[in-house]
Symmetry: C2
Subunit: 86 residues, 2 copies
């Protein structure tokens, strides 16, 4: 079993409204030194796969088809083998 | 100037509806081997601070007061010094 940690980020050229909202909130709270806020999504999941190659293939397909919006977002992920049976 | 990368995670004991939605979507798309999905938030921002101690203090305050919900979420963050003027 693998633990997949996928990080989905908006491309730098694309406006990030959630980041803008956080930045505005920070300034309203008096955090004047905060800037250029971006909010990314990290998705962690367990994946049953026979080997690393098939885990990579399946995680890539899941990112392409569900987790990331190919028009706006990029993604990277890491795989960790989880040897425990629990 | 520092680049702060904060990771905000729901406590494991707390239900993650967004993760459940992703898991259901994955299964509907035929990804049967995916389980225990959790969706975390990563917030990246620039922080003007004179030294690492004050950057840590300000980033902690921002996480406590804005980024993380203390009832449901935990957070960690890393600081990177950005020496470039650009």
């Amino acid at each position: 079993m693998y633990i997949v940690k996928a990080l989905i980020t908006r491309r730098p050229s694309i406006l990030d409204p959630q980041g803008k909202a956080v930045e505005q909130g920070a300034k309203l709270l008096g955090f004047e030194n905060v800037g250029n806020v971006r909010v990314d999504k990290r998705v962690v999941f367990e994946l049953e796969a026979s080997d690393e190659a098939s885990a990579t293939k399946e995680a890539t397909a899941l990112c392409d088809k569900l987790l990331a919006n190919p028009n706006l977002e990029d993604y990277t992920f890491t795989l960790e083998r989880n040897n425990g049976d629990a």
